[in-house]
């Protein structure tokens, strides 16, 4: 039986999920063993974005916490002349504190996010790669978001 996560939706800001961006554990362990500082986690909001094929994270946070491992061709509404542009690809870990949602460890795209809503910063867009393993009910009239894990 699936576990249900209930969250409140603000109609202005959309479906927000608490997230924590954390360094990849093996890299963190290697840094620790070398006596070096391990970047501390960053907490904020993840906005569920069914229009995003792949999960994205704020570029500035990604640069601090994660390791860039590639580049991807992307289209966004601001893409000019139907030409894709390149976005950095990072590898890292994302957890969902205060919820039973399983943490993810994968590649994510760096994007210009980092805007503040509801006392927190939107540091991630949770795309269809994340939703692929979940069932979600967005109930606008009641302002309730149910995610089944």
């Amino acid at each position: 039986m699936r576990q249900r996560v209930q969250l409140h939706i603000d109609s202005l800001y959309g479906p927000l999920v608490p997230v924590a961006l954390r360094p990849e554990p093996e890299r963190a362990e290697m840094l620790r063993n070398m006596g070096r500082d391990v970047p501390t986690q960053v907490q904020g909001w993840g906005l569920i974005d069914t229009g995003a094929r792949q999960t994205c994270i704020d570029e500035r946070m990604a640069h601090r916490l994660y390791q860039q491992v590639g580049v991807a061709q992307t289209y966004t509404p601001s893409t000019q002349d139907s030409e894709p542009h390149e976005a950095p690809v990072y590898y890292g870990l994302m957890a969902f504190p205060g919820t039973p949602l399983p943490q993810i460890e994968q590649t994510m795209l760096g994007m210009a996010l980092g805007y503040t809503v509801q006392g927190g910063t939107v540091v991630a867009l949770l795309g269809r790669d994340w939703l692929a393993g979940l069932r979600m009910i967005y109930d606008g009239p009641t302002g309730q978001l149910d995610i089944y894990v």
């Binding site: 093996e26 290697m30 070398m34 229009g51 995003a52 991807a72 289209y75 390149e86 996010l113």
Partner: protein, 77 residues
């Protein structure tokens, strides 16, 4: 010089051969050397980390015959 230009060029040359047996898997390159091909991005990342160490960049890409652009509808980059 664009980031990972050499790695991408190397992988593009290898892709037709790799895709025959490893479509959907993940390739890791350190410089122009293929470190290996792995079933998951997690295994690929860790192999890259052990090959390159924590300070030197390595390249990780899913092997597909036709890489699709990624559509991000809800964000202004």
């Amino acid at each position: 010089m664009e980031r990972f230009q050499a790695e991408r060029a190397t992988l593009n040359r290898m892709k037709p051969t790799l895709a025959e047996r490893h479509e959907g898997e993940f390739a890791v390159l350190f410089g122009e050397r293929l470190v290996g091909v792995y079933p998951t991005s997690r295994e690929a990342y860790r192999a890259g980390l052990h090959a390159a160490g924590v300070d030197r960049p390595f390249y990780l890409e899913r092997i597909t015959r036709r890489p699709d652009p990624v559509y991000i509808a809800g964000v202004r980059a």
